[in-house]
Each structure stands twice: as structure tokens, then as C-alpha cells.
Amino acid sequence: MSDTSTESRDAESVIYHVSNLKVQFKLKRPNLFTPHPILHAVDGVSFEIQRGKTLGLVGESGCGKSTTGLALLGLVEPSQGELLFNGIDVRSISRQDMIPMRRKMQVVFQDPYSSLNPRQTAGEIVMDPLIIHNVGTQSERQARVAELFKMVGLRPSQQELYPHQFSGGQRQRICIARALALNPEFIVCDEPVSALDVAIQAQILNLLCRLQDELNLTYLFISHDLAVIQHVCDEIAVMYLGCIVEKTNRANLFRSPRHPYTRALLSAVLQNKNRQINRIKLEGDIPNPINKPSGCRFRTRCQYAQKICSEVEPALEEKSTGHWEACHFDTASPQQETA
């Protein structure tokens, strides 16, 4: 696999262009006399997804990675930002025009137990998108469903079964088949393997990779697991509290991570082969996204935090070719090695 940063980035190769995306949720107020608390779930995120590639969004719970995915699919209403899918502004088009767009983008969720309607058989679930978009005749639909079942490694005879009669891994295969039904170009994989057992994870990851190659799919791959991200993603964006703190290709991120948070996250990964010796310990917990710290949002847990960090929010800047970072300092320089 070649390094994507050297490839041309013309409009043709970009399938999704996101700039300054913000999503806010108005929370229930505790009583009538206080204003609604605003949760800034996604707070100004920009990236591009290359056609046929995988962009990984990685971060801990509450960092806004899933919300970003839902916003790209038009399933949550952004409060600000530009979303260009194949050059078309998704936010400005009418409801009616959105329907054909939906065929091109699909989603696979984390929990295969809650993402299938328990009242439908597996076959009906996979056929549903075809019915909704009125594709083909009944017999064509049935043929398509059988084909999809084969594609994801299920037997056609399993169409008659209900979701509760499948194991977790098989359910996730049904979800993938449903996502593929309309021949989408772009799929948001929202933690597709987090709820599965280790041995099953491998099955699903292999399937997703194989399908991407066969069908030339583009993935937005959302995960908290850096090992999984490293395994499948070409480009990676690290999110913390609603913002991207680092964005680069896979080789750069894992070979020379820059942002203190990325490095802490990497060193916190539990490894099978050896125990981490120089673990960077982060103090405390992720702050509440309703009351974010001023300035740099990572400063409360950052060992390099200075006065400026609480005053000015660092912008996401290209620190070296194809390597973007939001930090006031260059903390990844060699002094780190001695620490």
C-alpha cells in the first residue's frame, strides 16, 4: 500500500470534504430558570476523505468521533460547517434530493445486538434498503439479497432466521450486508468490532478489508482501539473533546506521533508482546464536554502545559509535510526520549 500523502489531492479523489464542522446538543435544563446547557460534541473539525481509502477517527469516549460520523451521514444536524459529499453540499440540499444521496453512504454500528430490528428476519433486514429505494422487482431483490449473504460469508438459508438466532459476529455480517445492499460508495464504520470477542474481531476486520478492495469502498473508520486503527486505516485523525488534535497518515502517526495526547494514547495501549516500560501517564479524567477547559482543551492533563495553553487555543497546523498538529509547542523533539 502506497503512502497517500504523496498522491494527488484533486477534487476527483476526494469523496468527502468536511470543513469546520460543529455539532451542538441542547441538553435538558435542570429547571426553568437556567439556560439550556450546550454540549459542544463536535467543535470545529475539518478533514478530507480520499476515494477508496480509509480515514480513521480515534479518541476516547465523549470525544465526538461518533457524532462526527452521524453528521456526515446527515443523521444529526450540524450547527455549523461545510459538508461536501462528491462535491455536493449535503447541508443545503432538500430532503427530496437527500434520498438518492443516502444510497451512496451507509453505516455499520458498534452493537450488533441493537442494530438489527428483532421483528424482521435477516433476509427482510437486508432487503429493506432495496424496498425503501424501490430498487428492482421482487425476484431481483431476492437475488440481490442472496448475493449479499454470500458476499459477507453467510449461507443463503440463514435468510429465514431472526437476529436473536445469530451470534454477534454473524449479526455484524448482516449489518454489513444491509449497508452494502444499495452499492454505496462510502461507509461509516462506527466501532464495528468493539463489541465483539477478539477471535470474532479478526473475522470482521478481514471481511471489511476484503470488501473494500473488491468494491472500491471508502471508509470512515471510528474506533477507540489504536491497534485496530493501525490495522485498517490509511489516514488517521486523533480527536480529543470535540477537536482533532493530530491528523496524518498511518506511517507518520505510529512512527513519529507528535501531539502529547496521541503519544499518551499510544503508550497506554496494552500490548501483548511486552509490557510498556516508559508509559506516559495522564493524570485525571477527560473533562466534562459541557464545561471545557479554556485555551487548549488538553492542557489540564498535559505535562507540557504552560501559561499560554490556558489562554490561546492552538490551531491545527501542518507541522511537517502531511502531518497536522494542534499544539503550541514542539514536544515531540528528542528531549522526549530522555524522559
Binding site: 452521524l70 443516502r102 438489527l116 421483528r119 460469508g153 449461507r155 438466532q165 478481514n206
Partner: protein, 306 residues
Amino acid sequence: METGTQKLTEGAEAGTGVFVFEESTSKPEIKWRETVRLFCSNIAALLGFIVLVVFVLAGIFGPTLYPADPFELVAAPLSGPGEFTLLGADYLGRDVFIGILYGTRATLLIALTATLVTVFIGITVGALAGFYGGMIDNVLMRITEFFQVLPPLVFSMVIVAVFSSDILVVILAIAVTTWTTEARLTRAEFLKIKEREYVLAARAMGASNLRMITRVILPNAMPPLVIAITLRIGITIIYEAALSFLGLTDPDVMTWGKMIGLSRDFFFDAWWTVTFPGLAILLVVLCIALVGDGLNDAFNPKLRGR
């Protein structure tokens, strides 16, 4: 061994060829069939169901097979069971048995219609509030809250007193005062199911709101609703009986509650005039409860024994 592992990387689900275990051959079980099977294995529920069927048949065919007028004076006033009539006569000499027989039709009909109206209002309001949320939810829930502070029986007594004791008014009076329970339940179910990822997935596929409500969410919200509706029929029977007991019902229709109410001043002298109609109510509602319990167990086999 190495070759073995590589052969397996294709992601198929079957065994490895050398060593094939019999695959479990459980037939695809269709959910409702399983539900019916579970229901029938519950003897009390089945018994309740049979008794209910008997009452319904009596309500439908009884008056045809046994033509009589429940208001007719056929026996000596306050004569006991077995004297002139099967279950005795009331203070004017009306036959208690014929009253119960004819009351079955009226009582069940009023209760069923009132339940349908109640459930229709309740589910509609609850579904809209739960599905759309936000402002719509707020407004509908404030309205629900308003209806909840009006004590149901008192409120329906007032409605009947202000308008009229026509059967339609009685039915509406029952429905208007009790739909809030169904609305709250439906809303709660909708809110819960709305969070499930398959609902989000349906939206991602481009399903319309109507499809989401009727095809995706409502079928999954049905099990608790079916149980609630079943129990609601029983509650409505008692409710209607209470209104009739107080004399707030159509004067030309004989119902079980009215029989008890009419004999209110004489029951110290003739226990049978209130006991038998009351037992009829008790029996029917009890059987409905048994059926409801059976449905509950059948829908949630995990909760059995609770």
C-alpha cells in the same frame, strides 16, 4: 497445522472438513408461533381465555337464543335464587339471570369500544410525542399532565352529568379520562426504541418518518402495549360498572354495574341481587388478567415466575 490455520482465513462459518460436528438443526422459529406456544403452556392463561370466549359467545348469541326483556317483571319481588328464577329476582321482580345475560353484551361492547378509543388516543399521542420529541413532545406531555390531574371517575361523572348519559358520551367520558396511561407508556417505549441502532440504521437507509413510526418502532413497542391494552379492557369494564352503579349510564340499557346500583338500597334483604352481577364482573376481569399475565410471560420468557 500451519496450513490448517491458513485455510480458515476465508471467514466461512462451517467446520474444518476433517472434523465436522453436526450443526444444530433447530428450525427457524417464528416469534409469534413461539409466543402462542408459550401462552398455551400456561394453564391459568388458557383457562382464562376459554372462560372469556364463553362470555363473548354468551354476549353475542345469548339474547338471540334466549329472547327476553331484562326490564320485564317476571317474578315475585326479592324472591331468592331457585324460587321463581335461577338466580333470584330484584326488588321489582326482574330476573337476575336474564339481567346478567343481557348485561354481558352491553358491558363487553361498551368496554371494548371505550378501550379502542382510549388506546387509539393514547398510542397516537404517545407515538407522536416520543418520535418527534422537542416542542411537539413538550406540548403533548403538558396536555397529558393536565388530564392526569383530573381524577378519572370524578371527571367522567362530571362529563356525563354536564352532557348526557347517552352511551356514546359514556364511552367518550371513559376514553377522555384514561388515555394518559397508554400515552405515557407508548412514549416511554418509543423513547427507548428510538435510541436503538436499528432505528438509526433505518434512517440512514432513507426511511420516511411514517415508515419509521409504523414499520420500525411500533412493532417493537407492541409487546408491552398489547399487555397494557388487555389489562385496560378489564379496567374499563370495572370503570363502566362504576359509572352504571352510580346511575350515570343509558337508562334503556341493562349492564352489570347498573344491576348492582339499582339494588343498592335492598341488598341487605336480597344478597343475590348484587352478588351475582358482581361475580360476573369479577370473573370476566379476572380472566382478562390471567390472559394478560399469560401474554406477559409469553412475550418475556426470561421474566417467567415473577
